[in-house]
């Protein structure tokens, strides 16, 4: 009987030890996760979405105020945003893992209070896969499962690219991120999606991912197509010189609803949906006049 107990105990400790993982996060900090987390707080929408894409949605107990997908999470308590996480609310939820962006504040404070913090910042398509694997490891989801989810996403992006008619490809796109104006270049996550859809970008990778532009630059570059969120589209006509741009004149503008903009700019598992949204708009545009 005693022998059995011992064996059971050893087996238990082996199972626990089997999970213990040490992960190097995007701050280059080694994070030790001894047991599969059961109570997760996520402070970045794309990380929330990653957890859910891995089928671990039920383990989330608290979110930042910008996480809005999937809708089943709407009832979870909100603990502030990336720059103003409410430390007290996070601690009160007793999480065994906190997922947050490296640019967010409060990571040190949360760690000092004894919480396990994994800081990740997905910025490219490759990052989405890498972060998904890391989160999978942390949550004790097998690499095969996480890679299967990734392949599914990857295939959906390719499908979106194929849905665009051949003659619509190769257009030069200007994707505006904010009205200051900042654009998304080839080096950004959005730029990568455009590239895979067979589009060209008026902003080269050498300008950095989100270059601040002179409005004149866009007019001079004469994009074939403009992509922008609804809120920024409203005043585009009023910008000096812009109404005469060909894309504006011929209404070759994709403007996205706020909830769709969320999908477009988040480097997370919904990137296939983002590609679909862009492809749909491109396919529905008026034909280019010669």
């Amino acid at each position: 009987m005693r022998k059995h107990c011992w064996m059971a105990l050893m087996l238990c400790s082996w199972v626990v030890a089997a999970h213990a993982v040490v992960l190097r996060d995007d701050r280059q900090v080694e994070v030790n996760i001894a047991q599969p987390p059961q109570r997760i707080v996520s402070l970045l929408p794309s990380l929330t979405e990653t957890v859910c894409a891995l089928g671990q949605c039920q383990k989330l107990v608290g979110l930042d105020r910008y996480s809005n997908w999937p809708e089943s999470l709407a009832k979870l308590p909100r603990v502030g945003g990336g720059i103003d996480p409410n430390i007290e609310s996070v601690v009160a939820l007793k999480p065994d893992l906190v997922l947050m962006a490296t640019s967010a504040r409060g990571a040190e404070r949360l760690q000092a209070l004894g919480l396990t913090v994994l800081a990740l910042e997905p910025r490219t398509h490759a990052d989405v896969q890498r972060v998904m694997r890391l989160v999978a490891q942390a949550l004790d989801v097998s690499v095969q499962d996480s890679d299967r989810v990734w392949r599914h996403i990857d295939a959906a992006v390719n499908a979106a690219a194929q849905s665009i008619p051949a003659q619509a490809k190769g257009q030069r796109v200007y994707f505006e991120v904010s009205r200051t104006p900042y654009g998304a270049s080839e080096a950004s996550f959005i730029g990568e999606t455009l590239q895979r859809l067979g589009m060209r970008n008026i902003l080269s990778a050498s300008m950095g991912p989100f270059p601040k532009l002179n409005p004149e630059f866009v007019v001079r570059a004469q994009p074939d197509l403009i992509m922008v969120g609804d809120s920024n589209f409203a005043d585009m006509q009023a910008r000096p010189g812009w109404p005469h741009m060909r894309a504006m004149r011929e209404q070759r503008v994709c403007h996205f609803k706020p909830q769709d903009s969320d999908v477009l700019v988040r480097a997370g598992p919904r990137m296939a949906e983002a590609a679909r949204l862009m492809a749909q708009c491109i396919a529905n545009l008026p034909k280019e006049r010669p």
């Binding site: 308590p77 601690v91 009160a92 504040r105 409060g106 000092a112 209070l113």
Partner: protein, 336 residues
């Protein structure tokens, strides 16, 4: 100092101290989880952690940061004989913002820099930035002899470093959010270590400032008079600027750019009592502490479980009260 004002100084100091103690006590009650944490602090580990490791250091820290800013404000106003002088006058605020902006921008660029920055933290980056900015100001003003030159150099350093910080932010728009958080000021990340650093700096700064407060009194009569009294003006100025830089740097590094406390605290004190700089320095720091603590309590309590940025509240509270004083006291007793 006549003994009539003596009494009033001690009475006010006692009242403010009491207010601070009361505020800290109240601070352990207010937060996103409300009273519940306090009631269960003796049974539940997490509730205990919330009260002892989050609310208490945060309240004490807010008080210390406010005291540092109030002290720095009183010293700056005395040193420059200018009622508009505030702790950020010598460029420390812009220096701290530049430090934070550079640190945020370097973050994640290369692994070596990232590892180094994680160890050093944004707090140290801000402190180093603030102190370097003051040193740059001293360098540009070629010493501390000329008040006007010092003031101008401070303004120039402030504007230029502020512009550089904006430039860094513009080049790397992904640091924009982090910068915004720093510029608004926040007391929510103060832990025990940050809290104790600020209190140590405060005690040292207060003792030094009280020790040389006689020179500030002499300065109110004009530089020439102060000089003719045989006071070691240059040496004392250097000491006072060091106090100013150190206390502002410590407060800014831990809480970001909290607006208005340093400017308003000395004015509020002077509207209540007429006394020498010894009293003004002591009372201003207590007043600053009480002001920031009150703002912190409101920031946590007004929209609980959400939180407001404390910098917004200090500006509204301090500014509103000062404006009221100004209108009420068009005659005697108002803001001068």
């Amino acid at each position: 100092m006549t003994c009539v004002s003596c009494h009033r100084v001690w009475r006010l100091a006692l009242a403010l101290l009491l207010l601070c103690v009361l505020g800290v006590a109240l601070g352990t009650l207010v937060g996103s989880t409300g009273l519940e944490s306090w009631m269960r602090a003796w049974q539940d580990d997490v509730a205990q952690q919330i009260v002892w490791d989050i609310r208490l250091p945060r309240s004490l820290g807010a008080c210390a940061a406010g005291a540092l800013l109030g002290l720095a404000g009183a010293v700056a106003q005395g040193l420059f004989r200018n009622p508009l002088a505030d702790p950020y006058l010598l460029g420390s605020a812009s220096g701290a913002s530049l430090g934070v902006a550079v640190a945020l921008a370097l973050f994640g660029v290369n692994p070596f820099a990232t590892e180094w920055l994680v160890r050093m933290g944004l707090t140290s980056a801000a402190f180093v930035g603030a102190v370097l900015a003051v040193m740059l100001t001293l360098l540009l003003a070629r010493g501390v002899q000329h008040t006007l030159r010092l003031l101008l150099a401070g303004v120039i350093v402030g504007v230029v470093l502020g512009a550089l910080a904006s430039l860094v932010t513009l080049m790397r728009p992904d640091v924009l959010l982090g910068m915004q958080g720093f510029l608004l000021g926040s007391t929510s990340f103060i832990g025990w270590s940050a809290c104790s650093v600020m209190w140590v700096v405060y005690v040292v700064a207060l003792l030094i400032a009280l020790g040389v407060s006689r020179v500030l009194d002499a300065l109110t009569l004009g530089e020439a008079t102060a000089h003719s009294l045989g006071l070691p003006l240059v040496a004392v100025r250097v000491v006072l600027i060091a106090v100013l830089a150190m206390s502002t740097g410590a407060a800014v590094a831990q809480t970001g750019l909290v607006a208005f406390v340093g400017l308003a605290a000395p004015h509020l004190v002077r509207s209540a009592v007429h006394t020498t700089y010894r009293g003004v320095v002591l009372l201003s720091s207590l007043m600053g502490g009480a002001l920031l603590l009150a703002a912190d309590l409101l920031a946590r309590g007004l929209l609980a479980p959400q939180e407001l940025p404390v910098g917004v509240l200090t500006a509204v509270l301090g500014g509103g009260y000062l404006l009221w004083l100004m209108y009420r006291g068009q005659g005697a007793g108002g803001v001068r």
